[in-house]
């Protein structure tokens, strides 16, 4: 078919927006002279319904096998013409759009130059059309088993949500029992349920679900450098008691969570019974310790501002201590961040209940003396008006802990080929795409492993991830358009450049007789994991990789068709 290229060029007037600026008649006369152009027609508006039928007919009558649309370059319009091509029995990728409307007509007045520019653009479009290639659909077998790493609330919720959508789930936990950190919490914002009850209910649901296989005391390990494969076909190695077994899974959900480090030295304090971390306070409250009519100071600040959790915890517990124990609560803060569901309300309630909030800049001094804590600070609002430092004494002091990713997160990121974010938690893919996705398709994040989060957000996150997995792996064989880059094995020298530079880990090196080079191997792109950015194609030093619709030939042909002015 390639040796007989028959291009049809269709001119759209776009209801007069284009024809008002550019005269089509002389251009059409010029375009007809091009060797590959078999058929030319201009129309008032190519988007009209009957036009599509006409185009299909014309393609058949003139045996056209490439189509150039001169008009706009919008994606909805592109869809119409792709549809027309498919109905005419051609591949929908044999289409070249020339964006005359945006690039020529809308931005300048009618001059002889604009006609010359339009002609040049159409020539470039035709040159590209001659180099277009067909793209086929492929069916990829996928594994519908999901690996969930971590069995905290996030892991269990995800396991339940994916199991409810018909997937098999392997729930891996490195500790001996399920539950994670949930049992250490006293109360949950936004609900009256006790965390322990919630935990029991989830553990019960997970253990009694036949679709969920629970593996405690098990870790994901590094065998061949990393997790092999892409979405639908991962091979993960699980180690238990020193024996390593591979499991084939379709997607991996990370729910490893967060750990806290209590570091009172940062505030100039040592270890004492009345110096308590925020999470420790939760634990004490859950165990039933009473703080009746005690004086309590809370400090938030000094590098805890990266996350919302310390603020919300402080406000929640300030309110609780006021209401339940009638304690005198003083909260010292540099900043209060309450941007979240109902948090502003809790903050107002805490103030209304009689908790005092004091702002400090940098200068805060905390001293512990015979079981009494003295906080002296400099108030930026009163500075200059009332002289001196302010001193407040209390029985207890509550300090925020350091929030760091759970132990082993760094190793896990290496195994899964993910880049940790700036705060060393897993980084989500950028905000354009789903917040629970990583840079690799098929690997998802739920809960505190991306940044310390809240119990009431986990259920939504788990469902979002389960829905995303259900969308991606909707059947045992997934049909996908093979627009991923393809590799000319004869040119591939297995230099691993593409493998290293792919931001989505979509490239694997395959070996086999079918690759006709010295090494009998070549890089292959996984059509499910690839996001078609073309970075590999640009990086390939041997020019072995081509991205469909943007092949080197197509782009260079367009440049070649440009006119040179002396």
């Amino acid at each position: 078919m390639d040796d007989n290229i028959r291009v049809g060029v269709f001119f759209c007037g776009c209801g007069g927006s284009i024809t008002g600026k550019v005269d089509y008649e002389p251009i059409i006369a010029e375009i007809k002279k091009l060797p590959q152009v078999e058929y030319v027609r201009d129309s008032q508006n190519l988007c009209a319904h009957l036009e599509r039928e006409l185009i299909i007919k014309e393609i058949g009558q003139n045996r056209l096998n490439r189509m150039v649309i001169v008009g706009c370059g919008g994606s909805p319009e592109e869809g119409i013409f792709k549809d027309a091509l498919t109905k005419a029995g051609l591949n929908s990728h044999l289409l070249s759009m020339v964006n005359l409307l945006d690039e020529c007509c809308a931005v300048r007045k009618k001059t002889s130059l604009s006609s010359a520019k339009a002609l040049e653009m159409i020539r470039m479009g035709v040159a590209r059309a001659a180099n277009l290639e067909e793209v086929s659909f492929g069916e990829i077998p996928v594994n519908r088993t999901i690996l969930v790493i971590g069995s905290g609330l996030a892991g269990m919720e995800t396991a339940l949500a994916t199991a409810a959508r018909g997937f098999k789930v392997i729930l891996v936990e490195k500790e001996d029992k399920l539950g994670g950190r949930l049992a250490r919490i006293n109360s949950i914002i936004g609900t009256d349920r006790k965390p322990v009850e919630l935990l029991d209910e989830k553990v019960q649901a997970v253990t009694s679900n036949p679709a969920i296989v629970i593996m405690t005391g098990t870790k994901l390990v590094d065998i061949n450098g990393d997790v092999n494969g892409g979405i639908g076909n991962f091979t993960a190695w699980l180690a238990k008691d020193g024996t390593e077994t591979p499991v084939a899974v379709g997607a991996v959900v990370i729910a490893t969570g967060v750990q806290t480090i209590f570091c009172p030295v940062k505030y100039g304090l040592g270890i004492a019974d009345n110096i308590i971390g925020q999470m420790k306070l939760e634990r004490l409250l859950a165990d039933g310790k009473r703080f009746t009519r005690k004086r309590i100071s809370m400090v938030i600040g000094k590098g805890t501002e990266a996350f919302n959790l310390p603020f919300v915890l402080a406000i929640k517990n300030a309110l609780l201590l006021r209401r339940k124990f009638d304690a005198a609560v003083n909260v010292f803060y540099t900043n209060i961040k309450v941007g979240g569901d109902n948090w502003e309300k809790i903050y107002t309630e805490a103030r209304d209940s009689g908790a005092n909030f004091f702002k400090f800049d940098d200068s805060i001094e905390i001293t512990a003396n015979n079981g009494e804590i003295t906080v002296s600070y400099d108030d930026p609002f009163l500075r200059g008006k009332i002289p001196g430092y302010y001193k407040i004494t209390s029985d207890y002091i509550i300090l925020p802990e350091e929030l760091v990713p759970a132990e082993g997160t760094k190793e896990l990121a290496k195994i899964l080929r993910l880049e940790p974010g700036p705060t060393s938690f897993f980084s989500i893919d950028n905000a354009h795409i789903l917040p629970h996705m990583t840079s690799r398709d098929g690997i998802y994040l739920v809960g505190s492993c991306q940044s310390p989060g809240f119990v009431n957000e986990i259920e939504t996150a788990a469902r979002a991830v389960a829905d995303e997995i259900a969308c991606q792996l909707n059947a045992d064989r997934v049909s996908v358009e093979l627009t991923q880059p393809y590799v000319d094995a004869a040119k591939c020298v297995v230099c691993l450049t593409c493998y290293r530079c792919c931001p989505h880990g979509a490239i694997t090196i395959e070996h086999g007789e079918q690759f006709n080079n010295l090494y009998q191997s070549a890089a292959q792109m996984n059509p499910l994991a690839c996001r078609r950015c073309g970075i590999c194609a640009a990086e390939c030093p041997g020019k072995a990789i081509q991205l469909p619709d943007y092949t080197d030939n197509q782009i260079l042909a367009r440049l070649e068709a440009m006119e040179v002015q002396p």
Partner: protein, 140 residues
Amino acid sequence: MSTGANFQPKIVVFACENSGWLAAGHAAELSLSYPEKVNLIKLPCSGKIDVLYFMKALEKADGTMILACQKENCKFLQGNIRAAQRVIQTRHTLKEIGIEEDRVGIFYLAANMGHKFAEVVQNFYDKIRELGPNPGKVIK
């Protein structure tokens, strides 16, 4: 040879379809005019740019540039960083063969920056105009 006051340089603009391409569409929506002899070529990501494309463009045009997404805002994480590297590479090559390095450039913008698009293209056009015609053009 069209020199001096009448010289109208020709520029090839490679545009990432997530930013530069959309910004060009936005400029069109706002009817912001920019010089005629600017040809846009759409790429799926600025990381798809190749030294070869730049060099081929400079065989025909007087200047060429790539429009990438704002720094640290690439949809594909590293595309704009790689594009910047390609531009540096091209500049080295141009320097070696005795063509002004400034004929190739990279600019960062977002999809809703129609004004910035028109401004960037106009400024680049003016700069190339000052440089004069590209001596490396292949005239058949």
